[in-house]
């Protein structure tokens, strides 16, 4: 005879097992990378240029390059994304054009990253003649994270209760004043969270920077935004597949630094969100 209690137990076991399956790889990745990479981490590794054909020395230029690229991407994507999100959530009417724009944003989020790379090559490197440079790479990464920023910002703006807008307008404030003084301040934590998640994505991607900025080996720091630069994800790819006999320690050390940067950004996003939820009172 069927035992409903036992059926439930089996069902719960599978639900739990599926959940565990998600956690295990994450944990394993972190453990393995820390275990194999930590011995490589020291001040010298973080602050020196690569030596002996990247088989020794440090990864400083790649760290700096990644930070430059991420900063550039955000300088480009945040203002445009935020302004677009404000327009879409606060001003746009529900018409054909708006629907097309929203569809475009959804599609933009689905484009494979290597396609962004090719697009960046064609538009920024070749057409605008920026060359393979930090500028080209930042713009390409910026376009890639635009949908993330727009979507997160729109959600943050739309989660501000409509009643706040009505109150503000009923007191004779203009629509712009309402957005500026009531809607935006209450949406900022959500916008920041989305932005930082976008940053993490930009820091970790290899394909978009492959043709637009990344240098195979460049043992000095970039001097201007028109210089090429090394970047962590691409550097990791190079020392893992293109250069023979690179010490495992160095490869995993590089991966660890990249992982730490991305996880740190996500952590900041989580903290902001947590603080905001605690402060929220409606």
């Amino acid at each position: 005879m069927r035992n409903p209690y036992r059926t439930q137990k089996i069902a719960f076991f599978f639900l739990f097992f599926a959940t565990l399956l998600i956690v295990v790889p994450v944990g394993l990745i972190i453990v393995v990378i820390i275990q194999k990479g930590l011995p490589a981490i020291n001040w010298h590794f973080l602050s020196d240029i690569p030596k002996q054909g990247m088989r020794a020395g440090g990864i400083f230029p790649a760290i700096v390059g990644t930070l430059y690229l991420v900063t550039g991407a955000i300088l480009f994507a945040l203002p445009i994304g935020l302004l677009a999100a404000i327009y879409l959530s606060e001003y746009s009417k529900d018409n054909f054009l708006t629907r097309m724009i929203k569809l475009a944003i959804v599609n933009l989020a689905g484009v494979p990253s290597v396609v962004y790379g090719l697009f960046g090559l064609a538009l920024f490197v070749v057409f605008f003649k920026f060359g393979a440079s930090i500028l080209s790479g930042s713009l390409t990464l910026g376009i890639m994270i635009l949908p993330i920023i727009i979507t997160a910002s729109r959600e943050a703006l739309e989660s501000v209760p409509q009643s706040f807008r009505e109150v503000s307008l009923s007191l004779g404030a203009s629509e712009w004043q309402t957005i500026r003084h009531i809607v935006l301040p209450n949406a900022i934590p959500g916008i920041l969270t989305g932005t930082i998640l976008g940053l993490g994505r930009a820091a970790g991607e290899t394909a978009p920077i492959l043709f637009t900025v990344a240098a195979f080996y460049l043992p000095r720091l970039p001097k201007s935004i028109f210089d090429q630069a090394m970047a962590l994800p691409y550097h990791l790819y190079v020392i893992s597949t293109q250069v023979p006999n690179v010490d495992e320690k160095i490869r995993y050390g590089t991966a660890l630094v990249l992982l730490a940067i991305v996880l740190f950004m996500n952590l900041v996003a989580i903290i902001i969100r947590y603080k905001f939820r605690k402060r929220k009172k409606w």
């Binding site: 009417k93 009505e166 009923s170 007191l171 004779g172 203009s174 009531i182 009172k281 409606w282």
Partner: protein, 248 residues
């Protein structure tokens, strides 16, 4: 003196008619209570007066609403909403301090002088009978106040802008009887200086505070008259039925 003149006002949300051929006059310094069952168009009528319905893309209206003989569509909407303040059904403080809630409207109209802001905030809180309760904690979040205090804060916030008319949209629906009594008292005091339009679900409240009372039913204005006349000798049988609680 006539404050509002409304002629043949019709309103729709999409294809659903919300107001049908409503015409009335509203006098200066009176309290007009509007009663009627849910979905009778009371709130729509109220939100037509300060054009808050315009926020809804589906809203359409026909007919004329005149504030002191001027069509409200011709008045700059920000100025109109300064002249016609509104207190909502639920206490809706903005996520700011007590002081900033009251100062918000004045600030948005360009007042920067700190001293004048403080004076106006105090004056508004005095008028709403909240000053004594909050004067020591003006910088605390408005959400630390009780529901009744929050609603009086909303009244103070509306008064601070210096309106001529105040629209109350079921202001006591979320309040206990004691807070309700305080809000009603405030309304009667305010009548001296303002024109008040009160939408209420509570027939007794209309009887207590209204100089005149109007009954809405399915978007139509059934009857409008002096409050004691409405409650003692209504002209329309439906008015009689509604105030006796036979329907609605």
């Amino acid at each position: 003196m006539v404050k509002f003149e409304i002629h043949d006002l019709n309103a729709w949300f999409g294809s659903h008619p919300a107001l049908k051929q409503v015409s009335m006059e509203i006098q200066t310094n009176e309290i007009l209570s509007i009663i009627g069952p849910a979905n009778s168009g009371k709130t729509t009528f109220l939100r037509t007066l300060n054009r808050l319905n315009d926020l809804n893309a589906n809203f359409k209206m026909k007919g004329a609403v005149e504030l002191e003989r001027e069509d409200i569509k011709r008045i700059d909407v920000e100025i109109l909403r300064c002249k016609i303040g509104m207190v909502f059904a639920l206490p809706l403080p903005l996520p700011l301090s007590i002081f900033e809630n009251v100062a918000y409207g004045i600030r948005m109209h360009g007042e920067r002088n700190k001293k004048r802001l403080e004076e106006k905030v105090e004056e508004a809180l005095q008028q709403a009978y909240l000053w004594e309760e909050v004067k020591g904690r003006l910088n605390e979040s408005a959400f630390t106040l009780s529901g009744g205090q929050q609603q009086r804060l909303c009244i103070a916030r509306t008064l601070a802008v210096g309106p001529e008319v105040i629209l109350f949209d079921e202001p006591c629906s979320g309040l206990d009887p004691i807070s309700t009594a305080k809000v009603e008292e405030t309304m009667i005091e305010l009548k001296e200086r303002y024109t008040i339009i009160l939408v209420t679900n509570n027939v007794k409240q209309a009887a207590r505070v209204g100089d005149r009372t109007a009954l809405f039913l399915n978007g139509e204005l059934i009857e409008i008259d002096k409050t004691d006349k409405i409650f003692t000798a209504p002209q329309d049988i439906r008015t009689d039925g509604y105030i006796r609680g036979k329907f609605g």
